[in-house]
C-alpha cells in the first residue's frame, strides 16, 4: 500500500508548546485532507475541527504548506504530495490543530 507522509504541527496544551510530528497514512486515490485527519485522530489522537464537510462553514480552516485552506475541500492528488499541516495563526491554539476561531473579544 502506498503511504502518504504528513507533517503535523501539534499544539500540546499540557506543555503550552508546539511539536512537529511526521505520520504515515495509507493513501487512497482522490482522498481529502479531512480523511487523512480522521485517520490521524483514530490512530494518533490528533485533534482538529470539522463540521459541514462541504466547504461552507469553514471551521476546518488550517494551514497547509503555508497557505490557509479548508481541509474538507483539499484533494490529495498523489502519495508523493508534500503535506505540512499547521493550525491557523489568527486565533489561540487549544489542542493540536484546534484553535479558538475567535478574533478579539472574549468568547
Amino acid at each position: 500500500m502506498e503511504m502518504l507522509a504528513v507533517k503535523v504541527k501539534r499544539y500540546i496544551p499540557e506543555k503550552s508548546d508546539f511539536e512537529v510530528q511526521t505520520f504515515q497514512v495509507p493513501y487512497e486515490k482522490d482522498m481529502s485532507l479531512l480523511m487523512v485527519l480522521e485517520h490521524l485522530y483514530e490512530e494518533k489522537g490528533v485533534h482538529f475541527r470539522h463540521s459541514c464537510d462541504v466547504g461552507l462553514c469553514a471551521i476546518c480552516i488550517m494551514k497547509v504548506n503555508g497557505k490557509n485552506c479548508l481541509a474538507c475541500k483539499e484533494i490529495i492528488h498523489g502519495a508523493d504530495e508534500i503535506m505540512v499541516v499547521e493550525p491557523v495563526e489568527t486565533s489561540q491554539p487549544i489542542r493540536d490543530l484546534v484553535v479558538t476561531l475567535e478574533k478579539n473579544r472574549d468568547r
Partner: protein
C-alpha cells in the same frame, strides 16, 4: 474528594447558537433578559443551519396570488400524511412570512424577482411557488445576519465549545439550570437559570450517511427524555434520495446530483449497468417521488448492486456534448455549480457518471410541545428541529428553516414570561454530584474497551442498515437487541486514550454516545410499533398506510423504562381522511 465546578448565573440559558438559538436570544434580550447562549461547537461556523443551501417556505403569494398561509398549511398536513399537530403547523405557516420579512429588515439579502419582491420558487410538494432563498447559501447568510444582531445586544453572552450534559432541576421539579463542560479547559460548570431554552437540533448523525453535521447527535432529545419530557413522531426520519458519495471532496454535495437529475435528465444505473428505476416506478423513472427514489436506490445497494463506494451511478453522458455544454453555459458558467468547480474535482459531466446515494436528512419528530412551545416541564422550553409535531410524518422542503424562526420567537416569549415571574431559583444540589460522577466516569474505566468513536460508527451502521429507509419488524427487533447490548456491554467499558480534560474529543464523544443510544432506541421502538407505512416511515412488511395508525406515538421515561403510547392526532381544521389510499 469531590470535583470542583464553576457556578454561572443567567436569566435564560439557550443551548445551541444557530437559526433557532440565535433568533431566540435576540427575542429574549429585547425583553430585557440576560441570556447565556452556549454551543458545543463554534457559532455560525458549524452545525446544520449554515449547511442549508436553498429554500425557505413563506406563503407571501408574490409568485402566485392564489397562495396564502392557509394553502401552505394544507400542503404541510398533506405532506405530513395527516399526523401533524395542526395547531403547530398552522402557527408555523401563518407566522413564517412575518419572521422572514424581519430577517430581511436586519439585512438578509433575499433573492428578488424583477418586480422587486421576493423571488419565489416552486419546490417539491408545495402547491405554489413559495420558496425563498439567498443564492445557494441561505443558511450562511442567515447566520451572518443573526450573528451581527446578537453581537449588537450586550445582554447576550455567547460561549463556544460548551457542552451541556443534562438539565438540573429544583426540588419542586422545575428546570432551573444545566450541567455543562467547558470543552476548551475541561472545567465543569453548573449554570443556574430561571429558564432553559433548548435549540440543539436534530439527530441525523445517528445515521451512517447523512446530510447533517457531527454535532447532530440528538442531545436535546436525550436530555429532554431524561428530564421527563415527552417525545413524539421519532420514527419519522426523512431521507434525501440523492447526494454525492464520491469523491471525498465532493461527498455530501446535493447540488450537483440535483442538477444532473433534473436539468440534464440524468439516468440512474446500478453496478451492472441496469437502469433499475424501471422496476420501481416505470412511469416516472428518475423523476419519481423522493421517497420512492430513496427506497429504490437503497434496495439496489442493499441487495449488492451498488457501486464501489456504496452508491449507484447517475449519468448524463448519453446526451450529446453540445447539449450538456449549452445547459452548463446557461446554468453553471465555467462548470461551476453552486460555487463548486467540477473540473477541479476531476468531474466531467460529458463522460463521467456521478456516484450518488441516499442520506438521512431531517428528524420530523422531537420534544412534544403545546402552542406556546412549552414542554409541560416548568422552566424548560424548546425551539427548532428538536421539537416534534409541526411536520407529522414527513416534511416539506423549506419548512424547517421557517419553523426555526417561528418557534424561536414563540418559545422565547414563553420563556421570557416564565423567567420574569421567577424571583430566584434553587437547584437541588444532590443532582450535581450525581452528574459529575456520570460525566467523569469514563476516565476511571480500565483499558481494554472500545473508544467511543468506534461504538458511534457501529451504532450509525446499525441505524442505517436496520432502522433506515426500508424497515422490517425483524430487522427493527434485531436493532433493539444490538442497541441494548451496546448500552449494557460495550458502552460502560469505553476507554478514552487522553487523560487530560482539555479539548478531549473522546470524552465528549462518550457523552454524545450515551445520548445517541437513547435516541436510537426511541426511533427503533417507535418504528417497530408502527405497523404501517406512512410519510418517511416505510415498513416492507406493512407497505400500506392504515387508518388505525392515524395516531402519534408519544415516548417518555417512566421508572427508568421507555414507554410508548399512541394518542389521537391534534386536529384543528383539516379532517383526517376516512380511508387511506
Amino acid at each position: 474528594m469531590m470535583e470542583s465546578h464553576k457556578e454561572i448565573e443567567t436569566d435564560v440559558l439557550i443551548i445551541g447558537s444557530e437559526a433557532a438559538g440565535a433568533r431566540a436570544a435576540i427575542e429574549l434580550s429585547d425583553k430585557n433578559l440576560n441570556v447565556l447562549m452556549v454551543t458545543k461547537s463554534v457559532m455560525a461556523k458549524s452545525a446544520v443551519t449554515v449547511k442549508a443551501v436553498f429554500s425557505v417556505s413563506g406563503a407571501f403569494g408574490f409568485a402566485d396570488p392564489r397562495d396564502n398561509p392557509e394553502v401552505h398549511f394544507q400542503d404541510t398536513v398533506e405532506a405530513g400524511r395527516y399526523l401533524n399537530n395542526q395547531k403547530l403547523a398552522e402557527i408555523v405557516t401563518s407566522e413564517g412570512p412575518k419572521r422572514l420579512d424581519e430577517l430581511g429588515k436586519w439585512g438578509v439579502k433575499w433573492d428578488k424577482a424583477p418586480d422587486g419582491r421576493y423571488l419565489q420558487v416552486k419546490m417539491y410538494g408545495h402547491t405554489y411557488a413559495r420558496s425563498l432563498s439567498v443564492g445557494f447559501r441561505v443558511g450562511l447568510e442567515w447566520m451572518r445576519i443573526l450573528k451581527k444582531e446578537v453581537a449588537k445586544r450586550p445582554r447576550i453572552t455567547v460561549k463556544n465549545d460548551v457542552f451541556v450534559t443534562n438539565y438540573l432541576k429544583s426540588k419542586r421539579g422545575e428546570v432551573s439550570g444545566a450541567f455543562a463542560i467547558d470543552i476548551r479547559t475541561g472545567d465543569l460548570w453548573v449554570i443556574k437559570a430561571k429558564a432553559v431554552l433548548d435549540t440543539t437540533g436534530g439527530g441525523m448523525y445517528l445515521y451512517r450517511t447523512n446530510s447533517g453535521t457531527p454535532e447532530s447527535t440528538g442531545d436535546g432529545y436525550a436530555m429532554g427524555y431524561r428530564a421527563g419530557a415527552e417525545l413524539t413522531d421519532m420514527e419519522f426520519v426523512q431521507f434525501y434520495p440523492i447526494q454525492m458519495y464520491y469523491p471525498p471532496t465532493l461527498k455530501e454535495d446535493q447540488g450537483t446530483p440535483a442538477f444532473v437529475r433534473t436539468f440534464l435528465r440524468g439516468k440512474l444505473y446500478n453496478f451492472y449497468g441496469e437502469r433499475f428505476m424501471r422496476r420501481y416506478d416505470a412511469e416516472h423513472m428518475e423523476l419519481a417521488d423522493r421517497d420512492v427514489l430513496a427506497r429504490a436506490i437503497f434496495m439496489e445497494i442493499k441487495q449488492g448492486r451498488g457501486t464501489p463506494h456504496g452508491g449507484v451511478w447517475l449519468d448524463a453522458s448519453y446526451l450529446p456534448d453540445k447539449i450538456i455544454e449549452s445547459v452548463i453555459d446557461k446554468m453553471a458558467p465555467n462548470w461551476t455549480l453552486r460555487g463548486i468547480n467540477l473540473p477541479k474535482y476531476g468531474i466531467d459531466l460529458r463522460k463521467d457518471p456521478l456516484e450518488v446515494g441516499p442520506v438521512a436528512h431531517f428528524f420530523c419528530g422531537g420534544i412534544r410541545v403545546d402552542e406556546r412551545w412549552e414542554t409541560g416541564i416548568p422552566g424548560y422550553f424548546v425551539a427548532g428541529e428538536v421539537v416534534g409535531g409541526a411536520n407529522g410524518a414527513n416534511r416539506l422542503p423549506g419548512n424547517a428553516l421557517e419553523e426555526t424562526q417561528v418557534s424561536a420567537v414563540i418559545a422565547a416569549n414563553s420563556a421570557a414570561e416564565y423567567a420574569q415571574k421567577i424571583l430566584h431559583t434553587q437547584i437541588d444540589r444532590e443532582q450535581i454530584d450525581v452528574e459529575k460522577a456520570r460525566v467523569l466516569r469514563v476516565f476511571e474505566n480500565p483499558p481494554g474497551g472500545a473508544r467511543p468513536g468506534a461504538l458511534i460508527r457501529e451504532l450509525r451502521h446499525i441505524m442505517w442498515d436496520n432502522v433506515g429507509i426500508l424497515r422490517t419488524g425483524k430487522e427493527l427487533e434485531e436493532a433493539i437487541d444490538k442497541i441494548g447490548h451496546m448500552r449494557t456491554e460495550a458502552f460502560p467499558r469505553v476507554v478514552i486514550p487522553l487523560q487530560s480534560r482539555v479539548f478531549n474529543r473522546d470524552w465528549i464523544e462518550s457523552l454524545e454516545l450515551s445520548n445517541m443510544l437513547d435516541v436510537a432506541e426511541m426511533i427503533t421502538r417507535a418504528a417497530s410499533l408502527r405497523t404501517e407505512s406512512r410519510g418517511c416511515h416505510y415498513r416492507h412488511d406493512f407497505p400500506k398506510p392504515s387508518r388505525e395508525w392515524l395516531k402519534n406515538i408519544y415516548i417518555r421515561k417512566e421508572d427508568a423504562k421507555m414507554i410508548l403510547k399512541p394518542e389521537p392526532v391534534v386536529v384543528t381544521k383539516i379532517p383526517l381522511p376516512l380511508e387511506e389510499a
